[in-house]
């Protein structure tokens, strides 16, 4: 796109190079509504279920949650954007919508390439060894077997799970929660992503790992990707992101430089 502009008209070369701002994620008044199963409640008797089918009403244990209510923003290449907000404000849902894993009910989300969501609950196979999970995760991200073979030692090294002896060959169910979260992050961070979505992943792990992962996020950004980071730890948002979006009960409350947004957010939280 940029090349095209430069070649087609030489006038643009003298202008400030605003065109370098290439959007990677565009949200246009996005609404996300998802349905949750409340589980078996007091009304979950067979008779009630039969009555429901006869009277054609929808199941009472399914409730609709309007999690994201009309959010619009544009993210550009090379940006790291923090997403903050209180619990249940729709941050994770928004990430899922960007990743294309939850449908948008109204409005639209457009993305460049395929965003990858890296969450702490990304499931791996707990009965298998860490090493095998690394291979499996890499293959699931679309790498070739030779690439996987080359990267596996690096990923294990980066995750640091072998610091306390050979854990890589043990099944993942023997890992502590911090260890498996670190391994998941390491797998996802091994690939160059157009858009990387990180959900609370940096919050786990010890100090050394957090330093390494923040460094890795910076590298990913330099490789012309866009990074979204959802975190409750304002310090890690402050360290990695220069732009922050503040969501509150599904609506976009503020979007701007991290320092400003975090200041406003802290005032809001303290006044509650």
């Amino acid at each position: 796109m940029v090349d095209q502009l430069e070649n087609s008209n030489d006038v643009t070369v003298t202008l400030p190079r605003v065109q370098d701002r290439i959007p990677t994620v565009v949200a246009d008044d996005a609404h996300v509504i998802y349905r949750v199963h409340k589980g078996a409640g007091a009304t979950a008797s067979p008779v009630a279920a039969l009555k429901r089918i006869v009277s054609r009403t929808s199941a009472p244990q399914i409730r609709e949650v309007h999690a994201v209510k009309g959010v619009s923003f544009t993210a550009y290449r090379g940006e790291a954007i923090g997403l903050i907000g209180s619990n249940g404000s729709g941050k994770s849902t928004l990430l899922r919508a960007i990743a294309g894993l939850l449908p948008v009910n109204r409005g639209a989300v457009y993305t460049q390439g395929q965003p990858s969501l890296l969450g702490v609950n990304a499931a791996l196979l707990n009965d298998l060894s860490g090493e095998r999970n690394v291979a499996l995760g890499c293959l699931a991200m679309g790498m070739s077997p030779t690439e996987v073979e080359r990267l596996t030692p690096e990923i294990i090294e980066f995750s640091g799970i072998n610091q306390r002896g050979d854990f890589a060959s043990l099944p993942m169910r023997t890992y502590s929660s911090g260890m498996s979260a670190r391994l998941r992050f390491s797998i996802a961070a091994a690939k160059k992503h157009d858009v990387l979505l990180i959900d609370e992943a940096l919050a786990t792990g010890d100090k050394g790992f957090r330093k390494r992962s923040e460094q890795r996020v910076r590298e990913l950004r330099e490789n012309a990707g866009t990074v979204f980071l959802v975190s409750h730890q304002l310090s890690s948002v402050r360290d990695t992101c220069e732009r922050t979006i503040w969501l509150e009960s599904g609506t976009l409350r503020m979007d701007g430089p991290t320092a400003e947004v975090i200041r406003a957010y802290e005032t809001y939280v303290n006044s509650k």
Binding site: M1, Q4, L5, S8, N9, V11, T12, L15, V18, Q19, R21, I22, P23, T24, V25, V26, A27, D28, D29, Y34, R35, V36, S72, T74, R96, A97, I98, A99, G100, L101, L102, P103, V104, A108, V109, Y110, T111, Q112, P115, S116, L117, L118, G119, N121, A122, A123, L125, D127, L128, R132, A135, L136, G137, L139, A140, M141, G142, S144, P145, P171
Partner: protein, 298 residues
Amino acid sequence: MANTALADPDSGLTQAQLAARHGLRVAGERPPLAEYTRRLWSYRHFIAAYANAKLVASFSNAKLGQLWQVLTPLTNAAVYYLIFGIVLEQNRVPNFIAYLTTGLFIFNFTQTAVQNGTQSITNNLGLIRALHFPRACLPLAVVTTQLQQLMGAMVVLVGIVLVTGEPITWEWLLLVPTVLFQALFNAGLTMAVARMGAKVNDLKQIMPFVLRAWMYGSGVLYSVTLFEQSLPGWAARLVELNPALVYIELARVSLLESAPLLNSSPTQLWLVAAAWAVGMGIGGFLYFWRGEQEYGRG
């Protein structure tokens, strides 16, 4: 190109126009069929690795480990032989134990693939919601796992067939195309039930009954000639088209010397087997692809 803009050529555009201008795509859009097929092919290593991982994981806590791959079909055959061979004395079929185990193992391939395929989406929601890959990988991995299990069972089967005194003939080679056709049929069917199971969770409860009824209609446990004797002519013709029955008959034809058959013409058997394989394989794939963007959504 509009290069007349002084500062930002993007200003004044709506979000949708901005996205279109830079060639962004709607998140989670379903790829066209050719693209989807190509992508699925590039994930073949993932399918193989995932299928293998599932197989290893399923026995990882057992003391005897991978030995169960062979022990499970063997125990299964022993139980059915005890009931149908000894207690109920099905002795009008020559070499009943080989007849029974052939049917049992071949049917088990389809049965388990369908049963696990129904839950292949719902059991992997974590993976689906975390990573992007063609979802058809999951039902296909189920079929691959079952195919590997069948290989283990085949070793047992060949042992049983030889011990019961069947000769080794060139016809045994026909087992290869038979299993290939069946695998293709299973792949299509598994993809189809995977989509249905993702939509309606209750299918998981219904499936065992459907599969059991199917098993009784496939002449696994008794002589297939019973269908001809007790059903009216048109119904028996209908049973002849039952894909599971067709694959079982083909396997019996190739392994056993004197197995009773419902279909008398081998040409018809092969034609029906191929038609089911191609039809179900393509149909199931198309049906699954059409639902691609729905999987993993709450």
